[in-house]
């Protein structure tokens, strides 16, 4: 009897430890979030979301900045998704695992993941803004950002494809399907939820990034008229308000809260789109997987 209760005690202690650590960490994560909510709610309003900044952002709202941010994020996703898809497909199905092409691609992406964002910024400034003549523009910022989110996106895509591959590769081959057919019609639909999670993660990084965009997409807080216009992203706006504009802090928190709302909206849109695509591709609902 004694040993059983001891084992149970140990079990309870482990559960308590795990829950304690997890909830403690969540509480720590909540602290900055609550700071943002607490300070942000005082400024956030429809007025704030829909008007232009006044006095370098100390007054007014952030409407043009939200539009620029959306443009930058869409450009970066449009550029990074095909590249990441290629990388993920080649890593799971194309290259021989452990062979040198796979190793080179994987390592170069791992290194890319560790390049400091300042360096991406300087690189984008030199390549996209100067060499390719895009100037300080939403397009240049989005492309630079695409380089930065590429490793995150490629890794989660590869991860979910790999998971789908272990489950379905043999089955597809047994049916005599080509590798391409198995990939596109079986694995991709199965991996869609994972791919979607990867996109959300990449979006998150893209939205939270400052240093890259400070150097490439520009500083202008006007409503952008085209992708070649300079446009300030929300995080650059927050940076400027917090470090450069006296009295900018309240609106910095307001903008941070708006950024979180934007992310929630985008991630909801991505989830909805994924569900729709998965239904179209497999003729079933997500529930069956």
């Amino acid at each position: 009897m004694r040993s059983i209760s001891l084992a149970r005690l140990k079990e309870l202690a482990w559960t308590a430890l795990l829950y304690g650590l997890a909830l403690g960490a969540i509480a720590m994560l909540l602290w900055p979030l609550l700071t943002v909510f607490g300070n942000g709610l005082q400024v956030l309003s429809w007025e704030f979301m829909s008007s232009s900044p006044v006095d370098a952002g100390r007054g007014g709202g952030i409407a043009p900045i939200l539009v620029s941010t959306l443009g930058i994020v869409l450009v970066s996703l449009a550029a990074a998704l095909p590249l990441s898809f290629g990388v993920a497909v080649m890593l799971t199905e194309g290259f021989k695992p452990g062979g040198w092409p796979a190793t080179v691609v994987r390592c170069s992406l791992d290194i890319l993941a560790g390049v400091p964002s300042v360096v991406f910024g300087l690189f984008g400034l030199s390549l996209f803004c100067r060499q390719l003549g895009l100037g300080y523009s939403i397009l240049a910022g989005g492309l630079t950002l695409a380089c930065m989110i590429l490793p995150t996106l490629a890794r989660s895509l590869a991860f979910s494809l790999e998971a789908a591959a272990t489950a379905h590769r043999a089955g597809g081959a047994a049916l005599g399907l080509s590798r391409q057919a198995v990939l596109l019609r079986v694995m991709v639909p199965v991996a869609l939820p994972g791919i979607c999670a990867g996109i959300v993660l990449a979006l998150t990084r893209a939205l939270a990034e400052t240093a890259v965009l400070l150097f490439t997409s520009g500083y202008s807080d006007r409503m952008p008229e085209s992708l070649l216009d300079s446009g300030r992203s929300v995080s650059v706006h927050i940076y400027d308000l917090a470090t450069n504009v006296p009295g900018g802090t309240p609106n910095a928190y307001g903008s941070a809260l708006a950024l979180l709302l934007l992310l929630a909206l985008l991630s909801f849109a991505v989830h909805a789109l994924t569900r729709w695509m998965q239904r179209r591709m497999t003729g079933t609902t997500t529930g069956s997987y």
Binding site: L21, M28, D110, A113, G114, V118, R179, A208, L260
Partner: protein
């Protein structure tokens, strides 16, 4: 309706289409891999004038970091970056693992979803906001304990908090790939739940967890804004957690706007050095991963 996919498959596509598809994928993958080489080439181009003047060793042997007097010793900043990364990883990994285990296996689904959403939400907080929060919340607390407050410890704590979402999200997906049969088998053998998690699930997912750690470390070492705001930015090799330090990234961000000539070139050398550090990190990760694979299966 469990096999709708098979019903809907058309005849195998022609070899030509397969070829086109795979070559397109290869092109995309190689293009993706090429970016890092482009970055290296560009950094080298900017840094070369200075490197050719005094060789590469001077960046470790000069008398100090006085860039305007042509003295470019980066050792203290490299050490600071490493300390910050290791420290943040040591703090963040157990916490992320705990969150992932709880959300994947232990918590009721409602609580698990709430926790997962909170983690994802905090990943979206811009680093500047973490920095602002660090300066107004963490630094004053450490300051009460041991001034000046802006220190290695403050950097470690805030950066750890910042990389928890990254590590957690990836660890969760690694845990989800552990075959259910392992868990069921362990339960059938009468192994307790926590023992199953710690002795079976975590080791089975260790490769995924490890790669999550590598990605977390890469984010930590590359982090700029937070480190710039909470670490105090003094160029020195710290002897305690409470001493201020300047990380390589912070140095780039701090001095780039005002640097010219050799000073500017030296900051590009710092960028190259960052790449080198990350490459070493990745190589170490690759090596450990390979060894684990060999030992594991």
């Amino acid at each position: 309706m469990t096999l709708p996919i098979i019903e809907s498959i058309s005849p195998p596509p022609s070899a030509l289409r397969g070829w086109a598809f795979w070559s397109a994928m290869t092109m995309l993958a190689l293009l993706g891999a090429a970016i890092v080489f482009l970055i290296v080439a560009f950094l080298l181009g900017e840094a070369l004038p200075l490197i050719s003047k005094g060789g590469f060793t001077r960046f470790f042997t000069d008398e100090g970091w006085w860039p305007r007097d042509a003295s470019f010793n980066m050792t203290p900043m490299v050490v600071a970056s490493l300390y910050l990364t290791v420290g943040a990883l040591l703090v963040a990994t157990p916490l992320s693992l705990a969150i992932s285990l709880v959300t994947t296996f232990k918590a009721p689904s409602g609580l698990a979803r709430l926790m997962r959403n909170l983690v994802e939400l905090s990943a979206a907080v811009p680093t500047v906001v973490y920095g602002l929060w660090g300066v107004s919340a963490i630094v004053p607390i450490i300051n009460l304990w041991s001034p000046p407050g802006a220190s290695l410890l403050a950097g470690v704590l805030v950066v750890a908090l910042m990389i928890i979402p990254t590590i957690t999200v990836l660890t969760q997906s690694a845990l989800q790939t552990v075959p259910v049969a392992y868990v069921q088998g362990a339960a059938a053998l009468g192994v307790s739940e926590n023992q199953t998690l710690l002795r079976i699930v975590v080791p089975a997912a260790r490769q995924g967890i490890f790669s999550a750690m590598v990605l977390g470390a890469a984010r930590a070492i590359g982090e700029t804004m937070v480190v710039l705001m909470v670490c105090g930015n003094i160029v020195q090799v710290p002897t305690s957690l409470f001493e201020p330090v300047r990380a390589l990234t912070a140095n780039i961000a701090l001095e780039m706007p005002y640097a010219m000539g050799d000073h500017r070139a030296s900051l590009f050398v710092a960028g190259l050095l960052m790449l080198l550090l990350v490459s070493v990190l990745v190589a170490a990760g690759e090596w450990v991963g390979r060894r684990q694979r060999e030992m594991g299966v």
